[in-house]
Amino acid sequence: MSAGPRRVVLRVPGWPGHRPGQFAMLALDPESAHRDPLLARPMAVYRGDASALEFRFKVVGRGTRILGSLTTGSRLGVVGPLGNGFPSLPPASVLVGGGTGIASLYELAAHHSRVRVLLGGKTQEEVLGLEDFEALGVDLQVATEDGSRGHKGLVTDLLEPEPDRTVVACGPTPMMWAAAELCRKAGARCLVSLESPMACGFGICLGCAIPTGAGFRYVCTDGPVFDAEEIRWEELA
């Protein structure tokens, strides 16, 4: 098994369509041959329409291991689309994606061909969906920690926010926090798409609370997209 990102493509009858940045809860075993792992896994819709949905992910634990080993014809439980998704972006916005966080950004980039896209990962292989972004023809820059592709270093090294422009960041928390700081200093608006453990994904468990200036808010219903200014990063990290 290669360590790189994997994909799963699902036919979801009745899927009502979605906005870029929304997600779904994938229940690994709706027929209950296994009752462990129990909970569904949140996954950003990478791209898709009424006929098929594509998800991209990295194998990090048991749930993603199972997702990665599904064979054609397997059935999953799907609840979605969930979450707020991204707003329409003003021109000259910059998208910054790291690792699996990139999965939330592909459709956003596809809807806004004039954006600049910065993608990062440990190695070239970990820069999820790179070929697809290249095919979009957007202004694209890549950073890898091992230097196997593009800039050697962190993707935030490439970010130079401009005042009153919008930056969208999705990736590991330290990367989003760094992007948020750069934006704050530069006077740019920063949107982030957060992750959190989730039991339900639609607002009934209250498990996905994150600390914000206005108290706890919920990644699944208030987010996953938040204005970076709202987040109390020190408490999140």
């Binding site: 229940a27 009752r35 039991a199």
Partner: protein
């Protein structure tokens, strides 16, 4: 118990009476796992269920614990939400009116002092839309209140007595499983005039992230729920149903009609579906349908015939 509608094995009669409340069928959604009802409305018609038990309410809104609040465990999950809720006033003014008249709603009450418990019960009294009250005397992960009461017979008695006086609604007491004798606690509730008992709340638990060497929940301790705990819940329902005459509402790991039937056989008059709602928001309805299918398959005309019908050698 049992309904009045004439029925044969072809259309089993599913109505039950729980603590004086007539339920369309024995399937409720458990407190804390169905929000205030409206969150589940996109997924199912709550009016087709026996009812819902809304998220536990306190006198004032509660903020809850800092994250991480949930964690997955083998065939289960842990939570330490911290009983975050909008408070009883907002519930009555904003949440309850949004639910269709046909939905049977139980209010759950959680507080840190007996007086405050009683005060919430008082506010709920006279509210026609509140079919009954469930006292949450058993939350395993808040510093004050909750399990304190649920683990000590004398405190539990005082709590039930005060709330019994304050509440004009049918009163269920939700018991903690973290005790030596849950039957004893149920008898205390019966003695103080409770109309029924609900069980089980979550098992007190802890899990560790060995990479960070920290507890997985910020609150350190949390409550274990889901299929993993079902055999413990069934045992307790069995013990309590034999110890008291008031009805028992059973829960813990129910995810299918068969799971629910097991609780009925052990003596529960109704059941609640909790964690399963997270994995499948239509779980409650599927449990209801599963019970109906079971009754048809076994030629059972009234679901009440299953209650306590376990054959013990």
């Amino acid at each position: 118990m049992g309904g009045a509608r004439v029925s044969g094995p072809a259309t089993p009669e599913l109505t039950v009476e729980l603590a004086g409340v007539r339920l369309r069928n024995p399937v409720l959604l458990a407190s804390g796992t169905c929000g205030y009802g409206e969150e589940l409305a996109p997924f199912l018609d709550l009016g087709e269920l026996g009812g819902i038990v809304a998220k536990s309410l306190s006198l004032e809104p509660r903020v809850g614990h800092p994250p991480p609040r949930i964690w997955e465990t083998p065939a289960g999950m842990m939570n330490a939400i911290g009983l975050e809720n909008v408070g009883v006033e907002a519930f009555l003014k904003e949440k309850l009116p949004r639910l269709d008249e046909g939905v049977t709603v139980f209010a759950s009450v959680f507080e840190t002092e007996i007086d405050r418990y009683a005060e919430v019960c008082r506010r709920l009294s006279g509210e026609e839309r509140v079919a009954g009250i469930e006292l949450n005397a058993s939350c395993p992960h808040v510093e004050k209140g909750g399990m304190e009461f649920g683990q000590d017979p004398a405190s539990l008695a005082s709590l039930v007595r005060a709330c019994r006086r304050a509440a004009d609604r049918p009163l269920l007491v939700k018991l903690s499983p973290n005790v030596t004798s849950v039957a004893e606690m149920a008898r205390v509730c019966e003695g103080e005039g409770a109309d029924g008992v609900s069980l089980i709340n979550s098992l007190q638990a802890l899990d560790v992230n060995v990479e960070t060497r920290r507890p997985v929940l910020r609150n350190v301790l949390g409550g274990l729920t889901g299929p993993a705990i079902r055999p413990v819940a069934l045992r307790m329902v069995y013990q309590v149903a034999r110890a008291v005459r008031i009805p028992v509402c059973g829960m813990g790991g129910i995810a299918s009609g068969e799971d629910a039937v097991a609780f009925l056989l052990c003596g529960a008059t109704a059941v609640q579906v909790g964690t399963a709602n997270y994995v499948n928001p239509r779980a409650g309805l599927e449990v209801r349908d599963g019970i109906e299918t079971y009754c048809r398959r076994h030629g059972i005309s009234r679901v009440t015939d299953l209650i306590g019908a376990l054959e013990v050698p």
